[in-house]
C-alpha cells in the first residue's frame, strides 16, 4: 500500500459513516449499511493485496460498529472483511471486461457482507433453542430482501462515484502542471557552492503522463541560515519546485527528472526514502487541513515527535514551547474541524517546527493568516533564520517577507524569470500596483426606485451567540456593493438570508418584492444568485455545459441550451462547454460558478470571497466580469476581506463587525483603505 492509499481509504470510510448516519433518519430496526459502498469504492480505487483488504475490512467493521446502531456490532467485524474480499475478487475478475465492474463488485461485496452478518447473528442465536429453525428461516427471510436492496443501492452509489473519484486522484498527480510557454534558460548562478545545504543544478521535472516539464532548468544554491522567497503566478511550478526541494519528486512521484539536486552535499537519490530526507527538511503545504491527521492539536504534535523516538519529557517541553511561539497554546485540545483556516495553518507550521528540521519549506502556507498572525509568523521565521535554519517561502505577496529574505526568485511557466536580492528583484519587475479605478462616480442611487433587496432589523442567533444584530439596509437595482469585515463578523451569515438558506429569527428580508422569510428557496434562487467561496463545493457534472444546465433545469426552464450558451459566453468559457469542470484552472472554475448562477438570470448576484485562491491576473479578470454584469443590469453584492479589490471596484461599502453594520458608505475608497 502506498502512503496515499491510507488517507484515501480513511476518508472514504468517513464519508461512508456520514452517509450511513444520514440514512439512519429512516427508522427501522435494520438500516441498510451504506458504509459498504464506500469501503468497496476505496478497494476498487486502491486495489490492495488480499491481506491488506482483510485489514481494511476490519477497520471498516470497527467503524460500522461505532457509527451504526447495528443490532449486532461484533457481527460487522466479521462481515465487513468478507464483503471487502468478495468486492476485491469480483473487481479483479471483471475490471477489464465490463464497464460497470465497480458497481457489480460493490453489489456482490454488499451481498456477501450482509449474508455473513445475518449468518453470524444466526450462529449467535443457534445455541438458544435447538428447535428454532423455523424462526431463523423467517428471520433470514425478513432480512435478505433488505440486504438485496442495500446491495443494489450500494452498487449504484459506487458506480456513480467511481469515475469522479478516479478522476480526482488522477488529477492531483499532475495537478500542478505548468502551462507550457517560453522560458529562458537561467544561467550565471554560482551553483557549485561548497557551503550550500540545498543545491539544484539545471533541474527539470516532468510529471508522469505529461509531455512538457513542470519545472525546468532550475539552478539554485542555498546556504545555512539563508531565506529564499519564491513567487510567481498560479501554475508557475512553485509547488513542484518545493516538492523537489523536499525530496518528494525523487522518492514518491513517478515522473522523470533531469539535472541534479543535492541536500547537504549528497544527491537526493542517495537518501533512504522520504523518511530520511525529512529528518533534515520539514515542509508545510498550502492545504493545512490535509496535514492534520489526528483528532486534537496536541496529539498531532505529540505523534510526530514520538515517531522520532524522543523521550516523554523532551516531547512535553518541546510541544509547550513551540505552541507558545506559534501562538496556539490555547488550541491544545481542540479537534481540527473546530479550527479556522488560519488556525489550521499555524498548527501545521507548529507541528513541522516541533520536529526541528534544519531546512523549512513553506508553500503558500500563510495564505489564510490575518495581518497580526502573519506578522507573528514572519518574525518567528526571522528568529529561526538567525538560529541557523535555512528557509524557503513561497507566497503571492512578498513585500513583508523581504525584510528576512536573502534571495528572491520569480517563477513563470516552470522556469525562473527573475532572481536576486529583494531590492534587485523589486527593481527589475514593474510594480504590480493596479491602476486606481478611473471610472466616473456612479450616479446617486435612485431611491425613488423600489429596492431589489430590503433588510429590516434582521437578527440571527447560533445558540446563545448573536450572529446578526438588528441589521437593516436596502440595496437598489444596479448597485455594486461590497460587504466587508473580519472573519466571524457575520458577512456570510447575512447573505445566506437573501436566498432563504437561513431564515431570520426576527426581522424581515424582502427580495424583489418577495418575503424571503418564508418564500421557498427554489423560488428565491432565480432572483438571487449566490456564488460560494470555493467553486469546488458545487462542481459535480461531467461537462461544463451540464454543470450550467443543472441550475437552469432546476428552475423548470425549457430553453436550457440558449441560456447555457449565453452564460458561458459572458464568462468567456464558450469554447469549454465539453470540458470536465474539475480540469479547468482555478480561475476558470470560479467563472464557471458564476455562469451557473448567471444562467438562472437572477436580478442580483452575490459573490462570497470571489478572489480567494486567485492570483492577481485572475482576480482582475473576475472583477471585470462583475463590472460587465453590473452594466448588463445585474445588482452585484460581493462579500470579501480583500480591500484592494473593494477599493478598485465597489461603489458602496457596507462594513460589518460583530454582527452589526458599523458603516455604510458610497465610494469613499480612502476610508475603506484605512
Amino acid at each position: 500500500m502506498k502512503s496515499q492509499d491510507i488517507p484515501i481509504i480513511g476518508i472514504l470510510l468517513a464519508i461512508g459513516a456520514i452517509v450511513r448516519y444520514l440514512s439512519l433518519m429512516i427508522p427501522g430496526p435494520i438500516v441498510s449499511n451504506l458504509v459498504i459502498a464506500f469501503y468497496c469504492l476505496a478497494i476498487i480505487l486502491v486495489i490492495p493485496t488480499f491481506k491488506e483488504t482483510l485489514g481494511i475490512g476490519i477497520v471498516a467493521g470497527i467503524i460500522c460498529a461505532m457509527v451504526s446502531h447495528s443490532i449486532f456490532p461484533p457481527g460487522n467485524l466479521i462481515s465487513e472483511p468478507v464483503g471487502a474480499l468478495v468486492c476485491l475478487l469480483t473487481y479483479l475478475l471483471l475490471r477489464n471486461h465490463i464497464a460497470v465492474s465497480p458497481g457489480i463488485a460493490t453489489f456482490l461485496g454488499t451481498l456477501a457482507s450482509g449474508t455473513t452478518f445475518v449468518g453470524v447473528a444466526m450462529l449467535m442465536m443457534a445455541p438458544a433453542i435447538a428447535s428454532s429453525y423455523g424462526t431463523m428461516a423467517a428471520f433470514t427471510a425478513t432480512i435478505i430482501p433488505i440486504v438485496v436492496l442495500t446491495a443494489g443501492a450500494n452498487g449504484v452509489i459506487a458506480q456513480i462515484l467511481f469515475i469522479p473519484a478516479s478522476r480526482a486522484l488522477q488529477h492531483i498527480r499532475t495537478g500542478d502542471s505548468a502551462s507550457s510557454g517560453h522560458c529562458p534558460r537561467s544561467s550565471g548562478i554560482p551553483v557549485d557552492d561548497a557551503e550550500a545545504v540545498l543545491m539544484a543544478r539545471d533541474f527539470s521535472y516532468t510529471y508522469e503522463g505529461e509531455k512538457a516539464p513542470t519545472v525546468r532548468h532550475i539552478d539554485a544554491a542555498l546556504r545555512r541560515g539563508e531565506v529564499l522567497l519564491i513567487t510567481g503566478p498560479t501554475a508557475a511550478g512553485k509547488t513542484t519546485l518545493c516538492l523537489a526541494f523536499a525530496g518528494v519528486l525523487h522518492h514518491e512521484s513517478g515522473g522523470s527528472i533531469s539535472g541534479e539536486m543535492y541536500l547537504l552535499g549528497k544527491d537526493f537519490r542517495e537518501f533512504n526514502g522520504i523518511g530520511e530526507v525529512s529528518r533534515h527538511i520539514g515542509m508545510v503545504f498550502d492545504d493545512a487541513d490535509a496535514q492534520l491527521i489526528f483528532t486534537s492539536v496536541e496529539e498531532e504534535m505529540r505523534s510526530g515527535l514520538e515517531n522520532r523516538g524522543l523521550d516523554p519529557a523532551t516531547i512535553e517541553t518541546r510541544i509547550t514551547s513551540v505552541m507558545e511561539r506559534c501562538g496556539i497554546d490555547d488550541l491544545r485540545l481542540r479537534p481540527p474541524h473546530t479550527l479556522s483556516g488560519g488556525q489550521k495553518q499555524r498548527v501545521a507550521l507548529a507541528v513541522t517546527l516541533a520536529l526541528d528540521p534544519d531546512i523549512l519549506i513553506l508553500d503558500e502556507s500563510m495564505s489564510e493568516l490575518d495581518g497580526a498572525a502573519r506578522e507573528r509568523v514572519i518574525s518567528l521565521l526571522g528568529e529561526l533564520k538567525s538560529s541557523g535554519k535555512t528557509i524557503i517561502v513561497v507566497d503571492h505577496s512578498i513585500e513583508d517577507l523581504c525584510t528576512i529574505a536573502d534571495q528572491v526568485v520569480v517563477m513563470d511557466h516552470g522556469g525562473i524569470t527573475h532572481r536576486g536580492t529583494p531590492e534587485e528583484v523589486r527593481r527589475s519587475i514593474p510594480s504590480k500596483k493596479e491602476e486606481k479605478a478611473s471610472e466616473q462616480l456612479p450616479p446617486a442611487p435612485a431611491t425613488a426606485r423600489a429596492p431589489v433587496l430590503s433588510v429590516q432589523d434582521l437578527c440571527q442567533y447560533y445558540g446563545s451567540m448573536c450572529a446578526l444584530d438588528a441589521v437593516s439596509f436596502d440595496i437598489y437595482p444596479g448597485e455594486f456593493v461590497a460587504i466587508v469585515g473580519e472573519n466571524g463578523s457575520g458577512k456570510t451569515t447575512l447573505v445566506k438570508h437573501f436566498n432563504g438558506l437561513l431564515r431570520p429569527q426576527s426581522g424581515s428580508v424582502t427580495v424583489s418584492g418577495r418575503n424571503a422569510n418564508v418564500a421557498p428557496v427554489t423560488d428565491l434562487v432565480s432572483h438571487v444568485g449566490l456564488v460560494f467561496q470555493n467553486p469546488d463545493t458545487m462542481l459535480f457534472e461531467n461537462s461544463v455545459a451540464d454543470e450550467v444546465a443543472f441550475g437552469v433545469m432546476n428552475t423548470g426552464i425549457e430553453d436550457t441550451s440558449g441560456r447555457i450558451a449565453q452564460a458561458l459566453a459572458l464568462v468567456e468559457l464558450a469554447d469549454k462547454g465539453a470540458v470536465y469542470p474539475r480540469h479547468l484552472s482555478r480561475g476558470e472554475r470560479q467563472r464557471l460558478a458564476v455562469a451557473c448562477v448567471l444562467a438562472m438570470q437572477p436580478e442580483m448576484i452575490i459573490l462570497d470571497e470571489p478572489t480567494t485562491g486567485l492570483d492577481d491576473g485572475e482576480s482582475g479578470r473576475m472583477m471585470l466580469l462583475m463590472k460587465d454584469l453590473q452594466q448588463r443590469g445585474h445588482t452585484i453584492v460581493m462579500v470579501t476581506h480583500n480591500m484592494q479589490i473593494v477599493e478598485a471596484y465597489a461603489e458602496r461599502i457596507i462594513r460589518m463587525q460583530g454582527g452589526r453594520i458599523v458603516s455604510d458608505s458610497r465610494v469613499r475608497r480612502e476610508e475603506a483603505c484605512a
Binding site: M1, I6, A17, A128, A290, S303
Partner: protein, 229 residues
Amino acid sequence: MSEIMSYVSAESFLHRMPVLLKIAAIAGVVVASVLTHSVVVLGAMVLLIGVAACGAGLHRDLVRQIPLLLFLGVVLLLLTVLTMQGGETLFHLIPPGIVSSAGAIPVTSGAVDFAAVLSLRFFAMLFVFQLLIMSTRPTELTNALMALRMPIDYVLMFVIALRFIPSLQLEGQRIHEAQLARGYNPGKGILGKIRSLRPLLVPLVSNSLAKTRVLGLTIDMRGYRTRVR
C-alpha cells in the same frame, strides 16, 4: 453534528476505566449472553448494564435506543409466534370463533420465552457496545488498537476516518447549501433519492480525495510508517 460519533465527554468510572478492560468486559458479555438461555440471567445482565449506564450518567443515550429495541423485540416476537410453538398455549392471536372454533395462531410460552431471550441478548450486546463507544475517546480507542498490535497502516486509516468525519460533515453542509443555491431539490422514489445524492456526494468525494496526496506525504514526512515500535 457530533451525533455520528457517539462519544460523550464526561468524567465517570466508565470513562476512566482502561479501554482494554472495557473491551474484555464486552467480550465477556457477548460470550455470556450467547451461552445462557435463561431469561432471568439475561434480564439481570441488561439490568446491570443499565445500572452501570446510570452510574456513568450515560443512561439518557441508552433510553433513546429503547423505541428501536422495542420495535425489534416486537418483530422478533411476531416471528417466533408465527414460526414456532412450544410449551403451553397462552392465548390465540386470532380469538376462537373467528376463523376456527379453537382459535388460530397460538401464542405459546416457548415462543414468548425464545423471543425474550433473543431480544434481551441483542439488548445486552447493543447496550454494552454503546457504552464502550460513548465512554471512550476515539484516541483512546486508537491507542487500544495499537496496544492490540494492529499494524500502523490500519491504525492511521482508522484515525484519519475519525478525524475527517466531523470535517466532512461540515463540508457536506456547505455543499448542500451551494446546491440549494442552484435550486437543487432531492428526487422522489428510491432511484430519485439515489440519483439526487450525486450533486452532494460527487463534490464531497472529489474534494476530499484531492487532499489525499498531501495527507500521504505528511504520513511519510513525519515518519509514521517507519517508526520503530
